[in-house]
């Protein structure tokens, strides 16, 4: 009995650990293209060469480089002055399809951010 309990506990512990340590993986190919952030009302264009730019619909935005590590989308903005080289925005993706992407910012877990493919 004790042994079984120990085994089951170890099993659940392993399962918990496994659940706890594993992250979703998303295909970055699906990310390529132009997306519309409905929360911020902003366009994001992700190019295949990992460059991209934002656009507020009036031709204003920032250039950036992006990377997708499992579910973590890092957007590193290019500083026009050079003073802010390295300023980064991190989204944690929860869903990525060819037409829709859902995520939350790493510093605002309670706010859902939706991207629609354009």
């Amino acid at each position: 009995m004790k042994k079984t309990l120990r085994f089951v506990s170890l099993l659940f512990l392993s399962l918990a650990l496994f659940v706890q340590c594993s992250r979703d993986k998303f295909d970055e190919d699906l990310l390529e293209g132009k997306w519309y952030n409905t929360t911020e009302e902003l366009y994001f264009t992700f190019n295949a060469d990992h460059n991209g730019l934002t656009d507020d619909g009036e031709g204003h935005g920032n250039q950036f480089t992006w990377s997708l590590d499992d579910d973590e989308l890092s957007i590193r903005y290019k500083s026009g002055s050079g003073f802010l080289d390295g300023i980064t925005e991190v989204y944690i993706l929860t869903k990525l399809t060819s037409s829709r992407m859902e995520a939350y910012q790493i510093d605002a877990k309670d706010i859902k951010v939706v991207f629609e493919k354009k």
Partner: protein, 1112 residues
């Protein structure tokens, strides 16, 4: 005048008459020897007449006496009558003699061959001569044969006789002459004559007196002429002698009541008297001389009238001492001649009944003349004095004019080559009025001239002096005239030495006084002007001209509000320039000099007082006349003023030592202009109504030079003018209220190649700034062919920014206007035009300020570079130190176009007190409001960048920013409060209100501010604070405070979220208790991927900001 035919006729007639008388006397004496008795003589005579006379002749009695009357032979005819048998004649009598008597001395004739006629009388004689329309006369049967005989008798020779006519007389002769063919008639009603004379030795001496008591009449009336003349009484006395060598005599004429009429003209004269002595010489060739002396002519009550005109002359007299004529020498002379007229008047009346009258009271003229007919020369002297001349003319505007007493003097010399005349006219009182307006009230006027010309009138020189009411004007003309007086060439000038301006103004007629109402002026005006030119074929051409106007002790005022005064002023214009002229152009000089000039204006709302001293203006222009071609123009002007001062209400200006030089002339094929200005000092002051100074400004020694070359092929204004200037000013200042801005030194040079600021200095109320530098290639930059480059330097030992901001804030604008401008700017931000950083520019401004006061802070060693290049302005590493911190600032502003405006700032404050940080940069409080809870030393880093709208509002979708605050040993809440609560918080006794370290990083992406979690530890407590808020909208925020370490067995988390304003008003509504987040953040062994990532992002921000610090 050759008198040979006249004198010969007189001589022949006299000799003939006396010869005939002598023959008749002889004949009658012979007859008396044969027929002594009157009856027989009468009968015989009748028979002879009946037989031999060509017409019926009736005689009452013929008597011849000798013996009874010896030694006198007397012959007498009584009742001689010859009827007029011409049928067409209205007359009955051709000749009727009541008595003819002649008596001669026979004894003298026999012994001495001298005929002495003691008496010759013709009494009561009537003669009637008539010619009809066909020209037939009632004398046709008598005149022709007698005339031939008379001439033959005279030409056959005069008997060598002496005749002495002691007494001859004609009494009561009545004669009439009518010639219908010629329309003439004449008559005399009672003609009487008495004569005596002597003819001997070839000479004749005679005395005769003729008179008609009952008038003479003459009339002529044909198709073209209607003349009538009637003389009521006439007497003529002659006393003369004639020899072969000449004649002399004295003549006296008296005529009373002459009436004459011709067509519509008629004249009346009540009395005419004349007398003169005449002498003439006769030679082989005729008249050798003729003289008249003592000529007097006088007439009274003369009236002449014609349709619409009448003239009256009360008295007329002429007197000539001597009139001479020498036909041999061809000279004539007149001396001692005077003409006098009494009251004279003339009146003309037009068809409308308007009359024109002219009159004078008296006229006295003297005339002397000498003439040489051979040389064609004449010299004369004429003087005339006319008293009380008046003229009037009726009409819509009746004219009245008068000359009180007019004096005329005319001296002239005329010969075949020249005419010189010197007329002079003066009057003591000239009046002229038209309508109800008096134009000339009674001024003394004189005019004198000196005319020189020639008989051809092809050259005239005429200096003339005019004096009107004491104002003297000189005119001069020297003119060549040709082409039938249509072409003129020469000189004309006008000058006046000293015209009294006040008097001239008083001479303005009353009806024009309105034009100068309220205007007063006094002083002396001198004028000298002249022109030289020609007027040929209707084209005027000016060769030269000059004018000089001088004012002496001049003052003028208008309506007691405007006043000008100068002791002396001279203006001079010369054409062409004295310096010469271009061959195809014209030039002129202008010169104006005055010592002092005062100008005052006193208006209802303002007053002005201006004083100028030692002013001179010299100007010259030389260029083409036909066009405004700058290329051909050379001109210069120099203005000098010793001093100019002016006061306008409460403002005053004073300028000393001014000199301005301006020149325009061609240079390298382009018109070039240059201006030099030099000034010793310029000061201005503005006071308030209480006399306190509001503004005070001054320029010290100043010199400026400006040059330009005008190239019209260029489009840009700078390139078109290619300006160059240099300016040096010393000791200049402006003081407004308590603020003084000084320019102790300013030295700039500008050209399109280089703009240099040489060692200049500005002092503003305690702030002392030196500046210098160079900017190059301005012209190439404008042409877009080159880069505008340069370096400027600003240095200062001390700048008080607070004072500068206080000075410059709202200067010249009141508070209400400032507020309105701000409101307007906010409401209509689109109207603002952004500053675009120009491209093609590479400029750097180096700054070095030793000390700057700003707010309550003082900053030291502030310096940095501002670079403008390629459309970007960069404030590079502006650093300073203060008691509160050390600062480094770099800012970038890029604005090549309105739609591409970008601004970035990187700011660091090192070792700064947090409270001073917030005080220094209030924006920090809105970005990181929690900082104001702390006190202590920290490091502050801040960087932000964004594209901007034209109104400089950031485009939020492009904003990136980051800030970091590092602090150690930061005090939170004051000691007293902490001591009060630390026990309640179960803190140890040694607990202090100090946070060991503070490490705050935040990140701005677009309108989101992310405050990365930071830990705050105090004694037994630790809390982690983090969150985010929006910079737009309602400023929504969400902050979480997690109490991660407490002495209590609880872990608390508090989230404050919602709109910021709402949170401050209803805090409890937005505070929620939650599970504490960030627990694992500061427990490395418990950190997961999320925590690692967050800390990585947090560290990233700090490293990113630190890397921008210059020396860290």
């Amino acid at each position: 005048m050759k008198g040979t035919p006249v004198t010969k006729t007189l001589k022949i007639t006299g000799i003939s008459l006396l010869s005939v008388l002598g023959v008749l006397v002889l004949a009658f004496l012979i007859l008396s020897w044969t027929i002594l008795s009157p009856s027989r003589l009468t009968s015989t005579t009748r028979k002879v007449l009946d037989k031999y006379a060509p017409c019926p002749v009736m005689i009452d009695k013929v008597e011849l006496t000798l013996v009874r009357t010896y030694p006198f032979l007397a012959f007498r005819i009584d009742g001689l009558f010859i009827p007029d048998e011409m049928e067409s004649s209205p007359l009955d009598t051709l000749l009727s003699i009541e008595k003819f008597f002649v008596q001669a001395d026979i004894d003298t004739l026999i012994h001495s061959n001298v005929i002495v006629v003691t008496s010759l009388d013709l009494n009561d004689t009537q003669v009637g001569l008539f010619t009809d329309e066909s020209g037939r006369s009632n004398l046709d049967f008598l005149l022709s044969s007698d005339t031939v005989q008379t001439e033959e008798t005279s030409s056959a020779g005069i008997p060598d006789l002496s005749v002495n006519l002691e007494k001859a007389g004609i009494s009561r002769l009545k004669a009439s002459y009518t010639d219908l063919s010629a329309g003439m008639s004449a008559s005399v009603a009672d003609f009487n004559a008495s004569m005596k004379g002597r003819m001997e030795d070839g000479g004749i001496q005679a005395h005769a007196r003729l008179y008609a008591n009952d008038g003479l009449s003459f009339a002529m009336n044909d198709d073209t002429t209607d003349i009538k003349a009637v003389i009521k009484a006439l007497s003529l006395e002659l006393d003369g002698m004639m020899t072969d060598n000449g004649a002399s005599g004295f003549l006296t004429l008296n005529v009373g009541d002459i009436q004459a009429a011709m067509d519509s003209m008629n004249a009346v004269l009540s009395s005419l008297k004349a007398s003169t002595s005449v002498e003439c010489g006769l030679g082989e060739n005729g008249l050798t001389f003729a003289n008249a002396t003592g000529l007097t002519i006088s007439a009274k009550d003369i009236m002449a009238a014609m349709t619409g005109m009448q003239a009256n002359l009360a008295e007329f007299s002429v007197r000539a001492d001597s009139m001479k004529y020498d036909p041999v020498a061809q000279t004539a002379g007149l001396s001692g001649t005077s003409i006098g007229l009494g009251k004279t008047g003339m009146c003309m009346t037009d068809s409308l009944g308007n009359s024109t009258e002219a009159a004078f009271e008296s006229l006295l003229a003297t005339l002397g003349a000498d003439c040489n007919l051979e040389h064609g020369s004449l010299s004369e002297e004429l003087t005339a004095d006319i008293a009380d001349i008046s003229f009037s003319m009726d009409g819509e505007s009746p004219i009245k004019a008068g000359l009180g007493n007019l004096g005329v003097v005319l001296n002239s010399n005329i010969d075949k080559d020249r005419i010189d005349a010197s007329p002079s006219v003066r009057t003591d009182r000239l009046t002229f009025a038209m309508g109800n307006d008096t134009y000339v009230p009674g001024w003394p006027v004189s005019l004198s001239a000196d005319v020189h010309t020639n008989p051809n009138l092809d050259h005239v020189r005429m200096p003339l002096t005019l004096n009107v009411n004491g104002q003297r004007l000189n005119l001069d003309a020297d003119v060549d005239i040709s082409n039938n007086m249509q072409d003129f060439r020469g000189y004309a000038g006008i000058s006046a030495q000293s015209l009294d301006i006040e008097r001239i103004i008083s001479m303005i007629p009353d009806n024009f006084k309105e034009l100068v109402k309220g205007i007063s002026a006094s002083g002396q005006l001198a004028l000298n002007a002249g022109i030289r030119g020609s007027y040929i074929n209707g084209e005027p051409k000016l060769k030269s001209a000059s004018a000089t106007v001088g004012l002496n002790r001049f003052s003028a005022g208008i309506a007691d509000s405007l006043y000008v005064e100068t002791p002396a002023l001279t203006a001079n214009v010369i054409y062409p320039s004295a310096a010469g002229t271009k061959s195809d152009g014209e030039s002129a000089d202008l010169n104006l000099v005055f010592g002092n000039l005062d100008f005052m204006y006193n208006g209802s709302q303002s007053e002005m007082d201006c004083h100028l001293s030692e002013v001179s203006v010299d100007a010259r222009a030389d260029g083409p006349v036909d066009s405004l071609d700058l290329m051909g123009l050379t001109a210069y002007a120099t203005v000098k003023a010793g001093g100019i001062s002016a006061t306008v209400d409460t403002a005053s200006v004073d300028m000393q030592g001014l000199m301005v030089d301006a020149t325009i002339s061609p240079n390298d094929g382009l018109p070039a202009m240059m201006l030099n200005l030099a000034l010793s000092s310029l000061g201005g002051r503005l006071d308030d109504n209480e006399g306190n100074s509001v503004m005070d400004a001054g320029l010290g020694r100043t010199s400026a030079t400006a040059m330009a070359r005008y190239d019209q092929s260029q489009e840009d204004l700078l390139l078109k003018w290619n300006p160059r200037f240099s300016l040096q000013m010393d000791d200049s200042h402006v003081s407004v209220n308590d603020v003084t801005v000084e320019l102790p030194q300013l030295d700039v040079d500008f050209s399109l190649g280089r703009f240099a600021v040489n060692d200049s200095r500005l002092v503003v109320d305690g702030s002392d700034i030196s500046f210098w530098g160079d900017i190059y290639n301005i012209g190439a930059y404008v042409q877009k062919t080159g880069l505008l480059t340069g370096e400027l330097f600003l240095e200062s030992d001390h700048v008080d920014v607070n004072r500068l901001m206080a000075i410059t804030s709202g200067i010249g604008v009141d508070d209400a206007a400032v507020q309105e401008a701000e409101i307007q700017a906010t409401a209509d931000s689109s109207a603002l035009e952004p500053f675009l950083v120009p491209e093609g520019v590479d400029l750097t401004l180096y700054t070095n300020f030793s000390s700057i006061e700003f707010g309550d802070h003082e900053f030291f060693n502030l310096g940095g570079d501002v670079t403008v290049k390629d459309g970007t302005a960069v404030l590079k590493e502006l650093g300073f130190s203060s008691d509160a911190a050390e600062m480094q600032l770099t800012a970038i502003y890029t604005a090549p176009r309105v739609d591409s405006m970008f601004m970035a700032m990187d700011f660091h404050l090192l070792d700064i007190q947090i409270d001073e940080l917030i005080d220094l940069i209030p924006t920090v409080d809105s970005v990181a409001p929690m900082l104001k809870s702390f006190d202590g030393v920290a490091q502050f880093h801040f960087a932000i960048e964004s594209f901007m709208k034209p109104d400089y509002t950031p485009i939020m979708s492009t904003m990136l920013g980051a800030a970091a605050v590092e602090g150690k040993d930061l005090v939170v809440m004051d000691n007293e409060v902490f001591d009060g609560i630390k026990h309640k918080l179960l803190m140890s006794r040694k607990a202090r209100n100090v946070i060991d370290s503070l490490d705050v990083e935040l990140q701005i992406i677009r309108n989101k501010v992310t405050l990365f979690p930071f830990k705050v530890s105090m004694d037994k407590y630790s809390a982690v604070i983090g969150g985010r808020h929006n910079l737009s909208g309602n400023l929504d925020c969400s902050y979480h405070v997690a109490l991660v370490k407490t002495p209590l067995p609880i872990r608390l988390g508090v989230t404050v979220s919602g709109p910021l304003m709402d949170i401050s008003e209803h805090p409890l509504k937005h505070i929620k208790l939650k599970r504490p987040e960030y627990k694992k953040l500061y427990e490395p062994e418990k950190r997961g991927n999320y925590e690692e990532r967050v800390l990585q992002l947090k560290s990233n921000v700090l490293e990113m900001l630190r890397s921008n610090v210059r020396e860290y």
